[in-house]
Symmetry: C2
Subunit: 602 residues, 2 copies
Amino acid sequence: MADKTDQVMELAKRRGFLWPSFEVYGGAAGFYDYGPLGATMKKRFEDLWRHVFVKTEHTPMAEIFCPRVTPEPVLVASGHVGEFTDLLVTCLACKAPTRADHLVTAAGYKGNAGALKAPDIDAQLAALKPKCPSCAKAAGFTPAVKQNLMNATEIGPGSGRVGYLRPETAQGIFTDFPLLFRHFRERLPFGVVQLGGSNRNEISPRQGMLRLREFSMMEAEVFYDPGKKTHPRFSEVASRTATFVPNADEKDHHLTFGQAVASGMVANEALAYWLARTQEFLLAAGMDPKRLHFRQHLKDEMAHYAADCWDAEFHSDRYGWVECVGIADRGSYDLTQHAKHSGKDGKLNPEFTRVIAATPGIAFTATVPVPAKPFFPTLKQDARAAEAAMWEGSAYAQEAARRGLDTAKWAERNERYLITEKEVRREPATAPLTVQANGKDIIVPASAYEIATLDVTVQGKRILPCVIEPSFGVDRILYALWEHGLETGEKNGEAYTRLKLSPKVAPIQVAILPLTNKDGLPAKAEEIEWTLRAAGFLTDNDDSGSIGRRYARQDEVGTPFCVTVDNDTLKDQAVTVRNRDTGAQDRIAVRGLAEHFRAVFG
Amino acid sequence: MADKTDQVMELAKRRGFLWPSFEVYGGAAGFYDYGPLGATMKKRFEDLWRHVFVKTEHTPMAEIFCPRVTPEPVLVASGHVGEFTDLLVTCLACKAPTRADHLVTAAGYKGNAGALKAPDIDAQLAALKPKCPSCAKAAGFTPAVKQNLMNATEIGPGSGRVGYLRPETAQGIFTDFPLLFRHFRERLPFGVVQLGGSNRNEISPRQGMLRLREFSMMEAEVFYDPGKKTHPRFSEVASRTATFVPNADEKDHHLTFGQAVASGMVANEALAYWLARTQEFLLAAGMDPKRLHFRQHLKDEMAHYAADCWDAEFHSDRYGWVECVGIADRGSYDLTQHAKHSGKDGKLNPEFTRVIAATPGIAFTATVPVPAKPFFPTLKQDARAAEAAMWEGSAYAQEAARRGLDTAKWAERNERYLITEKEVRREPATAPLTVQANGKDIIVPASAYEIATLDVTVQGKRILPCVIEPSFGVDRILYALWEHGLETGEKNGEAYTRLKLSPKVAPIQVAILPLTNKDGLPAKAEEIEWTLRAAGFLTDNDDSGSIGRRYARQDEVGTPFCVTVDNDTLKDQAVTVRNRDTGAQDRIAVRGLAEHFRAVFG
């Protein structure tokens, strides 16, 4: 019997979500085309991601766009030329190449086969004697060899200059770091995202959409002062709960993000914040919360430079838990590598140096009591001295002193420390303040001063920023949304298929269905459709078959709402709006329809 | 002195529109990164294109998304493996490769050098004796050889299976045609678009953004019944004017699109319609109408299978007229090629055959008199015969008869001809109708019948659709928008730079500027910014430097509106909105600001 994956793929192909690429030429393993519904869903999905990770993110964020073809030196520096490999073995009978770690796992090896070295793989193969997945003979395999997984090409015909199709979008962000840092006025933190295609020349792709030779990614690289891996809005996400699977015990822990940081399970607040935003996005896109967890990389999985790394995994009926997002604290590894490799004989490329070695600001927020207008009259001749004393005793001054800053020499600060400040807010004081000045205690009444909060930036520290990277695999998540959304069953003796896509990513938002093909209903339906399209909605217009069959057709592709235009519409200027999930039918005035859907879709 | 191109590129680099890729590694000719402002502008530009070519286009349209890597057989069929070539010559002194047609053109050859064959190029080089662009010596060149311009790669490591990075996005649409045809319920016309990257491994890219090794395209393939290259909305664009440069005289003709079709200058109405939509899009994106024209391909430029082909060209101070869109009537060439090549020994692949050889519908619109409700009572016993006679004499029946259809056998039509009909509108009749029935003239009064307009589709004709292809080069058009938008000058003794980007593509729609850094203005500015961001606007928030300097900074990146938050804002809850182009300043209530900008941006 067809399992859920088969059902999903059959539906996806039949209705135009996903087609195997180049099928009329016999196809090519590991490549898929997104058809009309799939491409539209993919675009809405990517725009939703931009909404969460760029437009409504309080960290300053920007998007950039870099080429697919990348010269070899960049990928030498990133480690991909040396390390982006799988172990390959070849069947001694049929000569078919196979990925060695998958082979030993399928043959029953219980550990993390991806971490095995070539001699260990050879030993496992000798012990397990697996059959070749291509010819089904157990004729043995060649010794495992490292196979690089990048697609090579030539830059400039006949030039001999090697380039690769990028294996991830992140490297474009790292090589542009000096320019990006300047773009963000040399202040940390900031984040840069890139959405786009990448390639991985898989040895033998076999798992449908999970293992592609060309795929889409959405990556964010968020740069932090290594000493300040915090987020000002963490409190907004701290009480949300998730399932964490830490590497310490590999068991489920249902915790809030706040607890996960406080207990030390997640390395720092900034990392936990991005886990929470990842969860928020995946749920908004329609992933089933019960089939989503965060799994910490095992110790032998984690890169040596990573401070911490978690995968968001979704559960699939056929494939089990599948990684779809990696959220890693990569330290300063990437920037260090590029600084080293882009230089010659150990010297950094000047332009790169200028920024890496520049003086990124460190910002702190200080609270300062400042005189309100009636301050001077009240305190008379003590006013000036009291004011100076207030500055000296303020949280700002204490923070400055801790950093070796001389607050007394206020006027000189810009020259000496490149201090800049920005007032965030100003509030009335609630209690009198006692300061020592002119050799006595001076009581400054609450009415005579206010509390100002300043963002203060002090230049002068040399740091190499570190990066937290949430990296999303688009195709896998789209597959998850289809598998989690698919509902099949029987109702009143009739089989039905419903794809419960989130209204935020459904490729058709509203279908307009004229009840019959006469009495001017098709024309009315078309008029309504164009009103909705002009208002920016994605619509479909279906006039063939019974209304029940048309509802079923829309349910199958996840259309959240159907609008039925009937003979009463011509009289009462209203339509019936049917909700996919509840089946509820509401009569809505045509005049207010766009407004109604704007409110519904948010 | 720096020309406009230099000014554009300096500004683009400094402000984060465009950066040479991989610069820290010495760069790579023909590759650019879009920085934060450039990537955002590119995305808005592509979304605007979708709005014009998909969302508000009355032809049924869909978007698909296919991989970059394409197996060789697809590109053999399309002709790219054999014909996607330039002639290459190598300098005898320095061994640098150069594109031969560019070399002879630069040396003074006046014809279309791109059409010269290798021996003609060799003869021209012998006569013109140009210097090598790399070493500047006139040491002569090797004979010209054809150089394929595709980037090759391997599909599956060690497989020996050749793939190429696609040189255009169109082929994905053509290979999916059978699936797409079914998706559109086997009715013509329909259009399919694809946006994405393509590669062209240029021999020696030298013209900045005009000649890239990796570039973005937006392509539409609109499939027509070869006998019906019309557009139902042509009348809406027919009276718009444009400058046409036909190949007959290569001179400017200022005509309406209607005149261009009527005079036979543009081959057919559908092609002219897509020229008009192209113009509409380019002007909305901000191209200068005075620096845009449509040039017909010269006879030796046009592909042998093309029925007609026009380029939209923009004028550049440095480069002259530059092609940025090609709009071609490609006949049925592409589908024919894929049908031929995807088959084995001349037989078509079954799945492909099924659709290519299937029975695309031909639709016509017929006007039919139909009885209104009071029809029967009035005519009594003649009613039924009169009704039948009305059908027989209708425009519908005449049209059907012309196609050999038997309208009398109404009940059988679906089985015999697969006729389907859809009522478009119904109007009252304005005059009585005389029909012959029951052996006499029967007068049917106007009050007794109505005129219904039906879209009738008759299946049964075997055709191979032809295609009209508007194909847009994203990078070149973005460059044009920057060059056309750049305005430099002096005002009150101060130099200024203004980038007059269309509000529809500007990367920052609204900048929020707190007048000072105190009195709570930055907090108020932030609050306003977040309201606008939540409403979907792209914003910037700049608080450093004088207000004049900040206006200048926003003018330079094309921000259409600046919102200044001043001390009065805290009292009157209003802000000053400054218009980039007019300098006009309006006081607008904060509460209505999002609504105000929604109306302005449309």
